[in-house]
Symmetry: C2
Subunit: 439 residues, 2 copies
């Protein structure tokens, strides 16, 4: 079984924890089975590995997110990188071509497409095994999982099956309805469309060839920017008559707002924080090193990260988007494939940054045109390369990197660097990458 996880959107609705480089699925917000905090991506990945251990997972995402995914799921996770963002049909088509051409998956193998961020029980992913059986019987070209509604929601699209059986042919699809219509759908045995599609690999490969007129992964990847932005629902589902659906009746939630997030927090507090006895229905998530003290806070969300601090009435927090969009764009913390960086201070014509490299990882070999840098090794061991010369470093060592010098560092152990950037124009754009020299 092949699973394609769609990891999309940057999203500001969970500001200050989500930002331009960190989508909400990367926020470590839930306590996992080992008591460690885990993100939505980590949770879903772990759940799939438990419910369907033999499933082979590919994550379809943008270049921007690839670093964070490697950071959180490890180097070995398979990523199909979309060159630009083109909506779900081109993304699923590219991933399907990738499975066929790059991973040599046979065209009759089951593929299940799933968003990366449903907040669900393990039984959600156990239901994937039923979907896979449906695909392999070949009764329907396309197979969907639908969520048994718990109330007549106006927020979701609906799948209307022909009958109320556990598995049924789909009669039609409905957009977000008004309340009376939603009630009517529920009486009919309708399901919420949760964006889980299953098919034989060949099915989508053929759709890709027909609709996009590209016949290989390499081709599609190269001309990806020219593909029309269109969703899988509009491009494929609406034109397909042979669709089956299976009913999932466990919990299902979209953690897209601070309100829903707070509802799922197991403890009212994550991170350093104290609440006095007069606080009520308040949640705190603090990623900073300094403590938060809340007194007499009622129905509030308090969230702090290196990007900022949110203090919001829970109801009011649902209107955060325009405010978050106006907040400063400077990214103060980012997870990269090699580790992470944290901006510790922004000064006139200089910045102080903490760089953490994971063991056996390294930066790109690169130079800057408008800034010099000084590295102080705070802890760990590694090898620095400057203009082709190697030098071993450990804690207390200092490396000066003049403007224009090509440099990198390779971490032998976990390596923490205190970096001072000095220059009139300091920007993340000021970076020229090079091939690593050979030794």
């Amino acid at each position: 079984m092949q699973i394609i996880l769609l990891s999309g959107g940057s999203g500001k609705r969970l500001w200050p924890l989500s930002n331009d480089v960190r989508s909400k699925q990367f926020i470590k917000m839930f306590y996992g089975e080992d008591g460690q905090l885990e993100s939505m991506v980590q949770r879903v990945y772990r759940q799939i590995k438990t419910a369907a251990p033999s499933a082979d997972i590919t994550i379809a995402t943008s270049k921007k997110q690839a670093s964070a995914i490697h950071n959180q799921l490890g180097d070995k996770v398979d990523i199909c990188v979309e060159p630009t963002r083109r909506d779900t049909f081109p993304a699923i088509a590219l991933a399907a071509m990738y499975l066929k051409d790059e991973k040599n998956i046979p065209e009759n193998e089951t593929v299940i497409v799933c968003p990366v961020d449903p907040y669900v029980d393990n039984s959600y992913f156990e239901c994937f095994n039923e979907l896979a059986d449906m695909v392999q019987t070949g009764k329907y070209n396309l197979n969907l999982m639908g969520v048994e509604p718990t109330y007549p929601s106006e927020k979701y699209g609906y799948i209307i099956p022909e009958n109320k059986d556990h598995i049924s042919k789909v009669a039609e699809f409905k957009e977000k309805p008004d309340l009376p219509t939603a009630e009517k759908y529920l009486a009919q045995g309708a399901l919420w469309n949760c964006g889980v599609f299953a098919f034989k690999l060949g099915y989508v490969v053929n759709r890709a060839k027909e609709l996009l007129d590209y016949h290989s992964y390499k081709d599609l990847h190269k001309y990806y920017g020219e593909a029309t932005k269109i969703s899988f629902d509009y491009a494929v589902v609406e034109h397909e008559d042979s669709i089956g659906s299976v009913r999932y009746n466990g919990s299902w939630k979209d953690i897209g707002s601070w309100n829903t997030f707070a509802e799922e927090m197991h403890e009212p507090v994550i991170g350093k924080a104290v609440m006095d006895d007069t606080c009520e229905n308040t949640n705190i998530i603090n990623e900073l090193n300094i403590p938060i003290l809340a007194m007499g806070a009622k129905d509030m969300i308090i969230a702090a990260s290196n990007d900022g601090i949110l203090v919001a009435d829970k109801h009011q927090s649902s209107y955060i988007k325009p405010y978050a969009e106006k907040m400063e764009q400077q990214v103060m913390y980012a997870e990269k494939s090699w580790g992470s960086f944290t901006v510790l201070d922004v000064l006139p014509e200089s910045m102080i940054i903490k760089v953490v490299l994971l063991p056996q990882h390294q930066l790109h070999y690169h130079s800057h045109e408008h800034r010099e840098e000084v590295w102080t090794i705070v802890s760990g061991e590694g090898t620095v390369i400057i203009d082709g010369k190697r030098r071993d470093v450990s804690d207390g060592d200092v490396v000066r990197l003049p403007i224009g010098s090509k440099h990198t560092v390779i971490a032998s152990t976990r390596l923490v660097i205190n970096e001072t950037q000095i220059g009139k124009e300091i920007s993340v754009e000021d970076k020229i990458k090079y091939e690593m020299p050979e030794f």
Copy 2:
């Protein structure tokens, strides 16, 4: 006219802005006349210089606060340092002896003692001129300024004058009363005791000699720790029959809690912060570099510093003390006579610190037994001395300071240093000071 400003207490009631090293009087919380933020100490100092330009000011305080006072008021301000804390009578006695012996002030000169933190109009200090006239007429041995009450407060001590004249002999003093008693005092023309005492220098010098049995500043300073802890009210005022009072009828406030502080903020926000339209009666003071977004906050105080973040209902904030006392003791920011330091990050066996030196200022010549340090000069110019050797430095330069090395830096211009401390036991106590070498 000599003015002794008493600068006391560490105080946690304005946590996270006040802490063990920063008392509330050093928080920059008010917009001064030039539109710049100023602290209570700066405000009072400026007001005295305006209302009584010829007054000579001496600040009586602890060693701990001397650095912050020099930082905020400049190097030239006169400080009489108490070797330990012994309550107001020994403090005033020491300052009086200091005026007599160290500043050679004649015994018949007027001395006015005043707390460093009243939040008042300039007219409060103009009233000092009336007090000085009272002292010089010699009618009373001791002269007090009393505040015309605006309501029957249970929080303050009362001065009961013999009559309601602007200047009157004092009949008696009363401790904090209950409400009916306070109402009775007001009907009698009583005044709030605001801790302002005036006398001829010789008066307190004689009390010091009698009660403490020390006859010089040097002697008293040396044996200061042996002096009994007793207030000026109990030691002197209660035993004096010849006391006059003058009525001050302007505004007077003790900014001792977040609630009173918020009432005096001219703008609801200080620092980087945004409030949405649904916030009501909410104040934000943000000393951090990152923005605060408040949504739907009602009747709240939000305060953020390098020490922590407070989110409190205004009423509830008055119960902060026990919570603030339990907060971490690590001081993340401190103003020193030579500039300031900010802890940017605390890591296992290391710390990252930003050191800012004011122009023409320098650190003590010192060494550490348990940590090495690396300095990266971020901006500015100066001279480093390590083990007696001088070296000029400017931005981008790096200085390694091995364990045990004696070192300092003298700033030619404003100098910013990114300091990495590395060692198993990092502590502010680990500091051995030396005499500066001669060149």
